[in-house]
Symmetry: C2
Subunit: 445 residues, 2 copies
């Protein structure tokens, strides 16, 4: 079970902040449970771990098995919420070096998440002569980055296999009924999966958006959903003592209110890097509006204790830390005895690495709190599909609570359009002529 430890942030806030916030937390909770808050068209994720489409779920598993059987590589084309969740889960559960490992499942390459020409070429080069499939993920089918990448990879597939056979290797995760990608998929005969109307991109990792690539990597998606479902039940409990999402959501809001403007998410596991990126989108995009919101940052410990550690310890006091403590490692590595003992570490000989890591966690905690950094600990059971499912839902629900406390709509992202509009104008998209002229005037000073 997820367990939130707030002991080390208490001295930085009013002792009774939880009591003071209680009514507002419950109100935020009711908005999520009853759909009475801002953006309530997009709270399909709240009940998703119970109410998901079981038939589609079975089709996801079947498609994953087919891809595993006929492909050495899967290219996942998507950006934002159609990218970070799948990458986060795969790296966390299968390793950031998943593609390097010997395994019975396909390599997974993420594409269409940027405009780097070299990255595009590299994916083509890495696929080489391998049989491959494509999972293109886009609600509308018109988002520039994935749409451009899909043009390349569809062409590549069609050249390699012919149009008909290529169609059997393309899986489109898109709108249920309409849009450019849905239309194309229906005409071309691609198998399609649904981006639900009531689940925004950053909350979509437990829909087909995340689940198909995750299943192809061999992750047990039943366990992932089971963990999320159990956490859904926990987060539905309307009492602070029983609800870790209430505890975390209220604590981070209170820290923000007292002037901590940056939340640094830390884990002691390199494979957690892209879960941090997923978390940044979840919180940054949900709360960063109306000129407010915590700035989400992340570090990888202990590596970054030797880079960002100095700043965290002694820099500007405008931050707090949230540390995800994952349970026991999968491996045991006992530190060898060394007769010479030049490094003076024989006092650790015979100890397991996990023991050393645990002391680093506790030592760092005390050092940072002493330095003026409030610390929240999120304890997670031993890493597994189940416990990661719990963690995902926990962060989602906390984000909803926290966003409503901040009095923003946690489910829109109006600011994302600004760069797109400018880009379209500068690219010469028909219909943007006036804006284009204005922007060019600005650029040319």
């Amino acid at each position: 079970m997820i367990q939130v430890n707030l002991t080390n942030m208490q001295s930085f806030v009013t002792p009774n902040y939880e009591t003071e916030l209680a009514a507002r937390v419950r109100d935020a909770h009711d908005k999520l449970q009853l759909g009475t808050g801002a953006g309530s068209d997009y709270i399909g994720w709240v009940r998703l771990p119970a109410d998901y489409d079981k038939d589609e779920f079975a089709r996801i598993k079947a498609a994953a098995a087919k891809i595993q059987s006929d492909s050495k590589a899967l290219v996942v084309v998507g950006i934002g919420g159609s990218y970070l969740g799948a990458r986060g889960v795969i790296e966390c559960l299968c390793s950031a070096n998943y593609n390097l490992k010997k395994k019975n499942t396909p390599n997974i390459y993420f594409a269409g998440n940027g405009l780097s020409s070299d990255q595009l070429s590299e994916v083509v080069e890495l696929i080489g002569d391998d049989d491959f499939s494509v999972n293109v993920i886009s609600k509308s089918g018109t988002t520039t980055e994935p749409a451009v990448a899909f043009r390349f990879f569809r062409k590549l597939l069609e050249e390699k296999y012919g149009v008909e056979e290529a169609a059997k290797r393309i899986y489109a995760t898109t709108d249920r009924a309409r849009g450019a990608l849905k239309t194309l998929a229906d005409e071309a005969g691609y198998e399609t999966f649904v981006v639900p109307d009531d689940v925004g991109g950053r909350y979509s990792v437990l829909t087909a958006v995340g689940l198909l690539p995750i299943a192809v990597a061999g992750v047990d998606i039943d366990a992932l959903m089971a963990g999320a479902a159990d956490m859904m039940n926990t987060c539905a409990k309307p009492e602070l003592a029983a609800n870790p999402a209430w505890q975390y959501g209220a604590a981070r809001y209170e820290l923000y209110r007292t002037g901590k403007k940056i939340e640094v998410l830390a884990a002691y596991e390199p494979n957690f890097r892209f879960m941090c990126e997923w978390w940044k989108q979840l919180y940054g995009e949900s709360e960063g509006k109306e000129n407010k919101g915590l700035f989400p940052a992340s570090v990888e410990f202990t590596a970054d204790l030797h880079s960002m550690g100095q700043y965290i310890q002694e820099g500007e006091r405008h931050l707090f830390e949230t540390v995800v403590r994952l349970g026991a490692s999968n491996t045991t590595n006992v530190i060898p005895f060394d007769t010479v003992n030049g490094d003076g570490l024989n006092f650790l000989a015979g100890k397991d690495m996990d023991f050393v890591r645990q002391q680093a966690m506790d030592g760092t905690l005390l050092a940072h709190v002493e330095g003026g950094v409030p610390n929240i600990i999120v304890n997670v059971d031993k890493l597994s599909a189940y416990s990661l499912g719990e963690l995902i839902y926990f962060f989602e629900y906390s984000c909803g609570i926290s966003g409503y406390l901040l009095e923003v709509n946690p489910f829109d992202q109006p600011g994302v359009e600004a760069y797109k509009k400018n880009m379209f104008a500068l690219l010469g998209k028909p219909g943007y002529e006036e804006l284009r002229a204005a922007l060019l005037a600005k650029l040319n000073g």
Copy 2:
């Protein structure tokens, strides 16, 4: 050449801030050039691109050639400045997927940069039966993370090749004359390279610390040093108009002074991710002290325009952006025409990806400035060992300027000791008994 464009931060600061800061910038510059400032024992990096040890440089190249000839893998054991620079340069110039690529140079695995048991086991698994060598990088030889990892990998080498042969596959980059690793290396007969006394870890990428792994990956280290040397000459010029490091150092200091507390480093290239991590250490560790300093964060565009983009556009207005604009890509990818045009992107057909990326850069720039985010552009020539050498030196020199403007010692890192001390105490290191008791009392609270 590096070119700094400050056009889009001007409206956020006093128009004549450069004039107001001129004397202080020159003073900071003199401290770096003459060694008269705080921490001046550690400014060996200032003249390094000219004054480096040419004999050792030749030995680095010879060792790299030997490793390339007798190893399929190199394990680089180091943390902080003994890790991030090499990884940053290798990922930037050879790809973040370097190990996945078909090539004539060894795979490179970074270890000893944390305490993850699973990561350690994974590197062992990935090496498999491949012939390998180890480059252990540690000034003292007693830093816990690399020292622990080195115990494992030395043992592995000795078991595989025997003690004598293993010694020929271990390269120690360490203190010139003393310390645990130097002593061990001399006794065992490892080839050694020098971590200079007057160059701190975060400024050490152009010493043997970074150069050996970088050379093993096949990067032209002559070109890297040549770029740095040319930038050294540029940064030595005592006038604002000719000195990009003065421009950037003054601008970011002024933005900080006006209340921007976070600097977000952005690049439009996924392979730049670990150069951002290197940059974060450089700036965070140099400036984050005495309860001040810009908080360094980073994003990867356009991917993160679909995650952190919302926050940057509309969140709390306490940040500015520094965008590293790399020149033309190595590849050309022309967007295909599509008869169906469901995605509506045929207006881009026939255009190169770099063209689209350029418009995304300009469109984003205008959107963010409009949203209240000051923007600094650092223009870099087409990415190469030479231009990256320029960029590295540029960031180092700017950091020295900026740190002295902030009136801190940019070359110490007193805060890094805090967690280490606690960790040693909790680990039961002899001599820490009293602290241990105090910490345990706190933990059991």
